[in-house]
């Protein structure tokens, strides 16, 4: 008798990469299917938000600071990498605090930090903004494209197109958020959630616990990453985050506009808001023809369903963002031959 397939979504891009790197899919029983979710911050950033950052980089005496992942992401017309080659001052930083140092070293220039990321990243940027105020910096700005994970997760849990049986939940995000935001996913949408770490053993154990929940018809949130995650999460990080940012509606590539799924600077920190400081004219955002990143991010299609995959779209010349980021689903499939 053929068993029903169990469809699990790994929400986080770092999980997608780790699963591919360890070859976990090849060892799983055939009835368990893993699909990749929207948890790559670079990938879900909308085309318009990327275009805005690129337009700002064209302005004289502006230094853009960004995490490395963003460099090759194609906007409608060009990318940071191409802009840099053509002379724009774009610098890869490893910590948002590095951008403050650059601001101090270049008082005659305006320094913009390209803020992309989930709850793992945004508290550190909030702390950076508080520090910028403390240091009295007037030439430091943040372009806030931060995303809040849970509204998107709810959208996926409630999606009629995507029928997921459970979520492999992100360890890093959960270090900050704790388990409380998962409660609705488990109880209202009846989707088991297991938070897990990034070693292959963590992931395999996480999958096992999800399957156990599904087989016994339970829907709860479990932690398989106790060495880092607690129920309460990092209360201090959330306090810092909430003191600097408010939620806003935000556009996700593939998922569209999701209510209260983004972050904007609070009014009292508006002097650091790059969107307010730089009024730029955006090109009409055109998504690359043939690219199915949007559907890949929703888990409806896989990279190999894309006609461009591995032919026109490669990590070197990516057409869509999922091929760029070290957490992108297409990059993982390309690199590890999934």
């Amino acid at each position: 008798m053929k068993e029903d397939k169990i469809k699990l979504m790994e929400v986080c891009g770092t999980h997608t990469m780790a699963i591919a790197r360890a070859g976990i899919k090849k060892l799983l029983p055939s009835e368990i299917e893993l699909i990749s979710g929207p948890g790559c911050p670079v990938c879900v950033t909308s085309q318009a938000d990327i275009d805005r950052a690129i337009e700002i980089s064209r302005i004289d005496n502006v230094i853009i600071t960004t995490f490395g992942d963003m460099m090759r992401v194609p906007g409608t017309k060009t990318s940071f990498e191409d802009m840099k080659r053509d002379g724009a001052d774009i610098r890869v930083v490893y910590s948002p605090l590095d951008a403050l140092t650059i601001s101090e070293d270049n008082p005659q220039k305006r320094v913009v930090f390209m803020g992309v990321g989930f709850e793992t990243t945004s508290p550190t940027v909030a702390a950076t903004i508080i520090e910028a105020r403390k240091r009295g910096l007037r030439n430091f700005f943040v372009l806030s494209n931060f995303k809040v994970l849970f509204p998107a997760l709810e959208a996926l849990a409630g999606s009629s197109k995507l029928k997921v049986d459970g979520f492999i939940c992100p360890g890093h995000v959960s270090v900050v958020t704790g388990t409380i935001p998962y409660a609705k996913i488990a109880s209202h949408y009846k989707k088991p959630c297991v938070i897990t770490g990034f070693d292959e053993i963590d992931i395999v154990k996480g999958i096992k616990r999800l399957v156990e929940q599904i087989k016994s018809h339970r829907c709860t949130t479990e932690i398989e990453y106790r060495r880092a995650v607690t129920e309460d999460g990092n209360i201090e990080a959330r306090r810092v985050l909430d003191s600097v940012f408010d939620v806003k509606d935000s556009h996700w590539r593939g998922l569209g506009m999701i209510k209260e799924s983004g972050l904007k600077l609070k009014n009292k920190y508006r002097q650091f808001d790059a969107e307010k400081e730089f009024k730029v004219k955006l090109p009409k955002a055109i998504l690359p023809k043939g690219c199915i990143c949007g559907e890949v991010l929703q888990g409806i299609k896989g990279p190999r369903d894309c006609k461009l995959f591995g032919k026109v779209c490669t990590p070197r010349k990516p057409v869509g963002p999922c091929m760029v980021s070290s957490e992108g689903t297409c990059a993982a499939y390309y690199r590890y031959g999934e």
């Binding site: 070859g23 890869v92 490893y94 992309v116 890093h172 292959e200 053993i201 070197r316 957490e327 690199r335």
Partner: protein
């Protein structure tokens, strides 16, 4: 012009697929039997003596880093390239391109290091050159070295043999991560040191221990994965390596994890892989000494490709580096 690119980007220098395309474009221009071998050093005969000849340029930033400096690197780089041919390095040349403004004290530190490294490797600096260029035309100092060695026992090629065993002389990714940590001021209080050192004496011991070594390669730019792919490709054979046998120090692995780097693609400057007939593997392993590991074998299946047996026992492709590794967000 290569493919769709009109300009040379940094990716053409990172040791990955693009660099190989660029090298091949240049090679075809000067095509000849010796060059076309594309080994770390050229091999040819003068009268009855077989020689190995190699050159390398050094542009490392910062000039001084934990475990080494540009001077030490300039000696070891060329010494090791000659050694990978199975030759004993004897003489090296030394050329500087100096940006105006460089402090004499820095030049002094670099030349002292060169002197020390050359003495350690047993090579003589026998010719040289100095150029000074205006500010901005170079970055402080660039060094080129070339070297000549004599092939005494037998020369090593670029092709592995079916069923060869692959040996590595120690943990990988140390040079690349030490440089990255020093260059980017990451602020990690790290104990990672570059593995930069001369390999000629270790190679000599290997050649003495076995007559059945087919290839040696020092996995510098592009890391271990790139060297394995080069050899699989040039031999038209498959390679299988075992993740759990590939040594990576805990501190290097952690820094790689934090930045989202794969140690398999990070540069080494004091490591070599040795392809040897299985029956001599233990002899070679002992000849090299502590820290040496057998990491894989050559197969007749999946020709031209490298497969990695992962920690949990799955098998997946280990491709050539496609584009520069970029530090990740989270």
């Amino acid at each position: 012009m290569i493919g769709i690119d009109k300009n040379i980007t940094l990716a053409y220098g990172n040791g990955g697929r693009l660099m190989h395309e660029l090298i091949d474009m240049l090679r075809s221009k000067f095509s000849n039997k010796i060059l076309n071998e594309l080994s770390d050093a050229a091999e040819f005969k003068v009268n009855s003596t077989r020689l190995a000849f190699s050159t390398d340029s050094f542009v490392v930033k910062p000039l001084f880093f934990p475990g080494g400096d540009i001077g030490k690197l300039a000696v070891c780089g060329t010494v090791n390239d000659i050694s990978m041919k199975g030759a004993t390095p004897l003489f090296i040349s030394l050329a500087f391109i100096i940006e105006e403004g460089l402090e004499f004290s820095i030049l002094e530190r670099i030349t002292s290091s060169i002197k020390q490294s050359a003495a350690k490797a047993g090579v003589l600096v026998v010719t040289g050159d100095v150029k000074v260029v205006e500010k901005g035309a170079a970055d402080k100092i660039f060094i080129n070295t070339a070297g000549i060695g004599v092939i005494k026992k037998y020369s090593l090629g670029t092709k592995a043999k079916p069923d060869d065993v692959i040996i590595i002389n120690g943990p990988i990714a140390e040079h690349g991560m030490a440089i990255l940590n020093a260059r980017e001021n990451l602020g990690f209080l790290s104990t990672i040191k570059s593995d930069c050192r001369n390999l000629n004496f270790e190679v000599k011991r290997c050649l003495k221990a076995s007559k059945n070594i087919s290839v040696m390669r020092d996995p510098t730019r592009g890391g271990l994965a790139t060297s394995l792919n080069e050899i699989a490709y040039s031999s038209n054979l498959g390679i299988e390596v075992y993740e759990k046998s590939i040594p990576v120090r805990a501190n290097v692995r952690k820094l790689c994890d934090v930045l989202g780097f794969d140690p398999m693609y990070v540069a080494n400057e004091g490591k070599f892989i040795c392809f040897v007939k299985e029956k001599d593997a233990m002899k070679v392993k002992h000849a090299i000494g502590k820290g040496t590991r057998i990491i894989g074998k050559v197969t007749s299946s999946h020709k031209g490709e490298v497969y990695l047996k992962t920690q949990i026992g799955a098998s997946r492709i280990l491709p050539m580096l496609e584009a520069d590794q970029l530090p990740r967000i989270c």
